[in-house]
Subunit: 318 residues, 2 copies
């Protein structure tokens, strides 16, 4: 089993290449960052160049280190991409084969959220929990599931698409084609929509006064005013917390995790969001009289989680 491996995380704007000693994965041996190209074939080329760069720096030009790559895509077990919102030409692309060819050795390929969940469970917020749900509240909502100590990938590698659980019947339309999906309410985008709805209804005067118009209200403005103690902004974050809790309660009912880990940019709001999430969640968890609801923790590894998890997968920890 290799202990020094290369993990690559492909994000919407940046690619992170990180060399990891998997016995101490929080301490990078080398890191390299690049812009993310728009086309998947160019992403493969960029990854190969980034891998060569870190190998050169570490004096390993022959490439003895195993490589794992996390991609923002639905990744089938055979390494073929089924779909990726932000990568052109991704559907049907054999990422596993293309990366192996470009780098010159086998490459472990998985969904980026799966990589992040593996990292949080091995070295982050979920250490010691064999059943964990990772929920990433960003522009949308991503997620991944550890069940019985293993990543839950599903039959086609598509498990964990939790952002499209329906929380409002005939609710806000979603680009996925359905309506009322969780990520239309509990993500950064969802916060923005909720905030502008509140502003239109005259319920967010402090934020409208600050930014000048209802249409220009953004989620960040709500967080900023809430941090200053504005009651109307705090009320909108309480509503966001309720939406987050609704989906978490559903996931807990289905999966019974020992811990829920929240990541993503929305969580940067800190206790302004986490306190309402925890308060609403405590009221919603089924069987509350018969068991303690699982604790809700913030992810520990931040934007490094995907690369660390990809490195762990390269070491056979997936």
């Amino acid at each position: 089993v290799p202990t020094t491996t290369i993990g690559v995380d492909v994000g919407g704007t940046k690619i992170l290449v990180r060399v990891v000693d998997t016995t101490r994965p929080d301490q990078p041996l080398a890191e390299h960052r690049m812009e993310t190209p728009a086309r998947i074939a160019d992403v493969v080329g960029a990854i190969a160049a980034g891998v060569s760069e870190v190998e050169r720096r570490l004096g390993d030009p022959d490439g003895s280190m195993a490589v794992g790559v996390g991609l923002p895509a639905l990744v089938r077990p055979d390494g073929v991409l089924a779909f990726a919102t932000h990568l052109a030409d991704a559907a049907g692309f054999d990422a596993g084969a293309a990366l192996a060819s470009a780098i010159g050795r086998p490459v472990a390929v998985d969904n980026d959220a799966n990589c992040a969940a593996l990292a949080e469970s091995v070295v982050g917020a979920g250490v010691g929990a064999s059943d964990m749900v990772l929920v990433t509240l960003g522009t949308g909502i991503g997620g991944a599931i550890i069940a019985g100590g293993h990543l839950l990938r599903g039959a086609h590698g598509f498990a964990g698409e939790i952002g499209h659980v329906e929380v409002v019947h005939d609710g806000r339309p979603c680009p996925c084609g359905r309506a009322g999906c969780w990520e239309r309410y509990a993500s950064g985008n969802g916060l923005g929509i909720t905030a502008r709805e509140a502003a239109s209804a005259g319920l967010l005067p402090s934020v409208v006064a600050r930014v000048g118009s209802v249409a220009s209200v953004r989620g960040e403005d709500v967080v900023a005013l809430a941090a200053e103690g504005a009651p109307d902004a705090l009320a909108v974050l309480d509503e966001l917390g309720r939406w987050v809790a609704v989906g978490l309660a559903d996931l807990v009912n289905v999966l019974d995790p020992a811990i829920v880990v929240l990541g993503g940019g929305v969580v940067d709001a800190g206790d302004l969001l986490l306190e309402p999430v925890r308060a609403h969640f405590a009221r919603m968890a089924i069987g509350a009289g018969h068991r303690a609801p699982p604790p809700i923790h913030v992810a520990h590894l931040g934007s490094s989680a995907g690369a660390i998890g990809a490195a762990l997968m390269a070491a056979g920890r997936g």
Copy 2:
């Protein structure tokens, strides 16, 4: 590994004791049925008596066969019951220890839906699928999950409480304390509520004419009139099918099973229900352009599934 084991399924009204050759588990070697006592301690006594009875019939009075028991309860990994809707004094009861003491050997204890899912996956509708969701549409909704070839039990043994996923925000109140839970819409009880709502609105004249009043409309009446081709009754079953599909789509987004298996009395409506379920589900599954949605099959083992699964657990197949 034992090949002949005893499986016990404790239902709301009946207990089924079944001796199973686990290499051919669909062929019972012996069966014995009893009424289900109201109190958990009496259930233990009844199970022990039933086990002795089948042992006596098979000429094994010394009790060499391993025993597994499926209970309609939240069962913790240590065999202690956390909660059971229909069994008095169940919460906190150490069912594993009590059964071992009464029967004189270790007993495998699990949730009844977990037992049924194991049986369907090993010898029923889910054979060959390492990722399967079992959804039981009865008075309420039960369920269990096979992920990566194993039962998904969760951290406390409570995974699969899928009936309490929220499908309508601020929807029909549920005895669990939340509102809008899936089982308030997509179960037998849910069908009854939907039917009486439709009847109240004047939308179910054929059924009201048959049964005499809005208040006496039951789900079975809707199925009977739908079978006769009454368009108003068919419309209510189409709505039921849509509610079933909403929750299935959520489960598929989270779990990505290879197959969905539907059991429970509501499925006795046959194609009158399954056709609308499949039609609505096909429109709701995310990524429909990138993958085939999983097939929806009816459970094969009927009311024997729980006992067969308990016998398989006794043989170490859980």
